[in-house]
């Protein structure tokens, strides 16, 4: 079955909206059981098992990240950031068994406590078909500023 590019783009847009709107449970439901969510530190291509990352979550850690954000005591997101991001420059690479690797760029505006910040980067998603949609098995976020000071990366990127 040929890959439906439009469907994949819509999946990414939906994921972006769920992150922007802090829809934590719905966002978590997009992920496969065996997941890896990774934001490298300092460089885009490091070995996360030998180099410090910013985020390197397997499922139990990502679940806890979400529970924390929902708890009301994750003070770094109480009050929450206002977020809107644009996802673009989507390129799709087809793999085996309908799996796809999707490369995209994002530009994210964050507003919190009267201060507006911009985050930008490239995201690599690995998506596995499931039913009529996909599950995310792997997501790596290459922040433009991953080798600069960051004051708070508590919201979802």
């Amino acid at each position: 079955m040929p890959v439906d590019h439009h469907q994949i783009e819509n999946f990414l847009y939906r994921e972006a909206r769920l992150m922007d709107e802090h829809a934590y449970d719905e966002w978590l439901s997009l992920w496969a059981e065996d997941l890896l969510y990774w934001v490298p530190c300092n460089e885009d291509d490091i070995d996360p098992q030998r180099h410090v990352s910013i985020i390197y979550d397997t499922r139990p850690f990502l679940e806890d990240r979400i529970e924390r954000l929902k708890s009301g005591v994750a003070y770094a997101q109480e009050p929450k950031s206002r977020l809107r991001r644009v996802v673009s420059n989507i390129e799709i690479e087809e793999g085996d068994n309908g799996e796809v690797t999707v490369y995209s760029n994002f530009n994210l505006t964050e507003l919190r406590r009267s201060r507006q910040d911009t985050f930008a980067g490239r995201t690599i998603h690995k998506l596995r078909p499931q039913g009529a949609s996909f599950k995310i098995t792997y997501k790596k976020v290459l922040l433009v500023n991953n080798d600069e000071v960051i004051d708070n990366l508590t919201f979802l990127i």
């Binding site: 180099h51 410090v52 985020i55 806890d64 770094a76 004051d151």
Partner: protein
């Protein structure tokens, strides 16, 4: 005092057991100017770790007390901290973050220095007079550079006492960190960089503050750790605080059940790891005896080396230093420290422990940042609300980690350096 400063910055009232700090110490640009001269240009400051530059020619550039420096191991094997500015017209001679080199060549006019800082090449040197002596124009080193067990410190005061004597009682606690390895500790590749719109002294206080752990990090201690299989009844923070001299202080907390790769097992690591971690502990007992081994492996510690080095040997070991760019803004560099011989599998456990608590995407650090920024915002009321209270446990014989002795120790030393007087002013608290 000048600029309408209060008559004292610190109230240290032993009689009544009250300790107060004036909030202008956190907001006043004049105080920051004094700190740059009387604290950061005097004290020993952490510049890096020898393991970051293991081979001759290895270098890393960074800032120490606002100064761009090159931490470099010369061809002669010696570790130096070179001030990164060409002695000709000032350009930074090294414009890379890290690498290996025999020479640093200034890109502006091609003056060339070897990796020991000596000026070895000046294009068109025949145009200079006889008085021009390139032997005197090498890259300038920090006036003092000394190491203790791999930790490299600099002082910008040529007359500073030697490092070991400066470290005073903190040395014993650095040893407890270093003794976790038979082959030496190393900085794990990678630097977490984050910022805070708060005064640097707030992060000093916060890094050694047992009192805040449960309120600020309630979820980590009361939900995240229990989710990993830790019994909630083990969840207590019942340590002690100690002054180590020269403004250094430590809090030490036995048996917090967050797991320590050397060597305190937790259920989340699986039964298979239990024997291995226990064997590691037994080996420490064989090397050091039961008491020292217990202190290395089962007691976590938050160590302040005055003024701005924090070594928190907790669920993972973090080395953290920071410098104020403004009264209300700092940038922090944080590293993870580990035994060189650690297995790849245990290194992963250590990094998981590190990332789930520490750094801009961690489950604890961002909430600390939020609290400290909230303090800084609160200080806009300084004209009406002048003093912060840091009296907790002041009259207790053996202060607890949840007391504030360790902050009093910091502030007394800070006050001595800033005011040039030995003891802090004693007066009745308002």
């Amino acid at each position: 005092m000048e600029n309408g400063a209060p008559e004292s910055w610190v109230i240290d009232n032993h009689k009544d057991g009250l300790f107060r700090v004036h909030r202008r110490t956190f907001t006043d640009p004049h105080v920051l100017a004094l700190e740059k001269e009387r604290v950061f240009a005097q004290c020993w400051l952490y510049a890096g770790h020898e393991s970051e530059i293991p081979n001759p020619g290895d270098f890393r550039t960074r800032q120490v007390a606002g100064r761009p420096v090159i931490l470099v191991r010369g061809t002669d094997g010696q570790v130096r901290v070179l001030l990164n500015t060409c002695t000709h017209r000032g350009a930074q001679v090294c414009r890379e973050k890290s690498g290996t080199t025999k020479t640093f060549q200034c890109a502006y006019h091609a003056w060339t220095y070897n990796n020991q800082g000596e000026l070895v090449g000046v294009p068109g040197e025949d145009a200079y007079s006889e008085a021009f002596d390139r032997r005197q124009l090498g890259l300038v080193t920090a006036p003092r550079t000394e190491s203790y067990r791999g930790f490299v410190f600099v002082s910008f005061n040529p007359a500073m006492e030697n490092l070991v004597s400066y470290l005073a009682g903190a040395r014993e606690y650095l040893d407890l960190v270093c003794d976790q390895s038979e082959n030496g500790m190393e900085i794990i590749s990678g630097t977490q960089l984050y910022s805070m719109r708060a005064n640097w002294k707030l992060l000093v206080e916060n890094s050694i503050d047992g009192y805040h752990a449960l309120p600020t990090h309630k979820r980590y201690f009361l939900e995240f750790l229990p989710d990993t299989g830790v019994e909630v009844q083990r969840m207590r923070i019942a340590g002690t605080a100690k002054s180590l001299g020269n403004g250094h202080a430590v809090i030490a907390n036995p048996e917090i059940p967050f797991g320590r790769p050397v060597a305190d097992w937790i259920p989340a690591w699986g039964e298979a790891k239990k024997a291995e971690i226990e064997a590691m502990y037994q080996k420490l007992i064989a090397r050091f005896g039961a008491e020292h081994a217990y202190n290395i492996a089962k007691v976590s510690r938050n160590l302040l080396i005055f003024p701005n080095l924090i070594i928190n040997d907790i669920m993972s070991v973090t080395v953290r230093t920071f410098f104020p760019l403004a009264p209300d803004y700092i940038e922090i560099s944080a590293w993870a420290l580990a035994p060189k011989e650690e297995s790849p599998e245990n290194r992963v456990l250590r990094l998981d422990n590190f990332l789930t608590f520490l750094g801009p995407g961690g489950f604890a650090t961002p909430d600390d940042v939020e609290m400290l920024e909230a303090c800084q915002r609160g200080y806009a009321n300084v004209r009406e609300v002048e003093w912060s209270d840091i009296s907790r446990g002041m009259t207790r014989q053996a202060p607890l980690a949840s007391d504030e002795l360790q902050m009093q120790v910091f502030w007394r030393r800070w006050n001595e350096l800033i005011t040039g007087s030995r003891p802090a002013r004693v007066r009745e608290a308002a």
